[in-house]
């Protein structure tokens, strides 16, 4: 028991993730990490099992991240990064080119500013909102933050010299 506990701490302190990638054949997530004590790069190969072209990348990423054998090594690798790697694998299983998969990932993880979200159904709208949530959460000042201020006022004067937002049309009757 003592030994196991020690091992966990050892890994947590001594291993810095450097790179994380995916191998298609046979499928595996590969982590390059540095063992600080020895200053040496090491490789960890985590085989991907039971993953088909119909699998859910988000769930696969979660499962791997919570896998007791790997979770200490993957602490510094985010769920979103892992999910993206699984998306590459899935694209490969569908026979897509790398460029096609990249494009698809891009589409699924960014907001198209031209898209009219009013027309989407609940599910699609929720997807877009969860993409937006990433930035929202990053910039969010939470109530339990020690330097949280409820009422923050900042003045942004709208005087004449300001550059136009670029969204107004030239003609006078339109804005």
């Amino acid at each position: 028991m003592h030994f196991l506990y020690f091992f966990k701490v050892y890994v947590r302190m001594m291993c810095t993730a450097k790179k994380c990638g995916i191998r298609f054949q046979p499928p595996a997530i590969i982590l390059i990490y540095e063992n600080e004590m020895k200053g040496k790069s090491r490789q960890r190969i985590m085989p991907v099992r039971n993953f088909s072209k119909f699998s859910d990348c988000n769930r696969a990423a979660e499962q791997l991240k919570n896998n007791p054998r790997h979770k200490n090594y993957l602490e510094q690798v985010s769920l979103r990064q892992l999910e993206k790697l699984f998306s590459f694998l899935r694209g490969y299983l569908w026979g897509q080119s790398l460029a096609e998969t990249m494009e698809q990932i891009q589409r699924e993880t960014t907001i198209d500013p031209e898209e009219d979200l009013n027309k989407l159904d609940d599910k699609e709208l929720a997807k877009r909102k969860s993409i937006m949530d990433e930035l929202f959460e990053k910039n969010q000042k939470k109530k339990d933050d020690p330097n949280f201020i409820y009422d923050i006022e900042v003045e942004f004067p709208q005087d004449e010299q300001l550059q136009s937002c670029g969204w107004d049309t030239e003609s006078a009757d339109e804005f």
């Binding site: 898209e115 709208l125 910039n139 969010q140 900042v154």
Partner: protein, 223 residues
Amino acid sequence: MASDKAKPCELNQEKYDADDNVKIICLGDSAVGKSKLMERFLMDGFRPQQLSTYALTLYKHTATVDGKTVLVDFWDTAGQERFQSMHASYYHKAHACIMVFDVQRKVTYKNLSTWYTELREFRPEIPCIVVANKIDADIKMTQRSFNFARKFSLPLYFVSAADGTNVVKLFNDAIRLAVSYKHNSRDFMDEVLQELENFDLEQKEEEVPDRVQRGNIESPSPS
């Protein structure tokens, strides 16, 4: 479906005639951050009442304006498509409007004109604040001019529901505007009614024109 559409009218809106009650509505495209703004303002203190069938959420809030307690109902709607089925009752008796767009998405700014036209059809006079949300995502947008607000002489607020910039100010100012609109429009209508009565009395001996009589009875009740 038809009966569904009629239902929101059963929401009791009589209370908004009471002196200490105001109704403030939120408008704007899907995902501009209307609900996040509400939640940031009310923090834990909010008790939303979800009327999901009508895509409507009511947030109740108690404010103090010039030493007087004011009961505020914020009306928040989701998803424009479903909103279509209830808009008349949504605007009914509203005292102020908060109209939001997303500084990261041009379409939401362009659509302000549609929202604004509809607002003015139902509520020609109520105060309206234009809100540029998500400035945390692109702070440069606060250094830009937005003609829509200028064209209709509407106040423009730069806010972020994420980091909280100007959110509390926005809502407190909206409440203030709603309260003052309510009192001023009431005074104004009282005056008009008064004059109609005087007019009535003066003309008693002569034939009272039918038109005026009817005008008096049918004049929309102030709210």
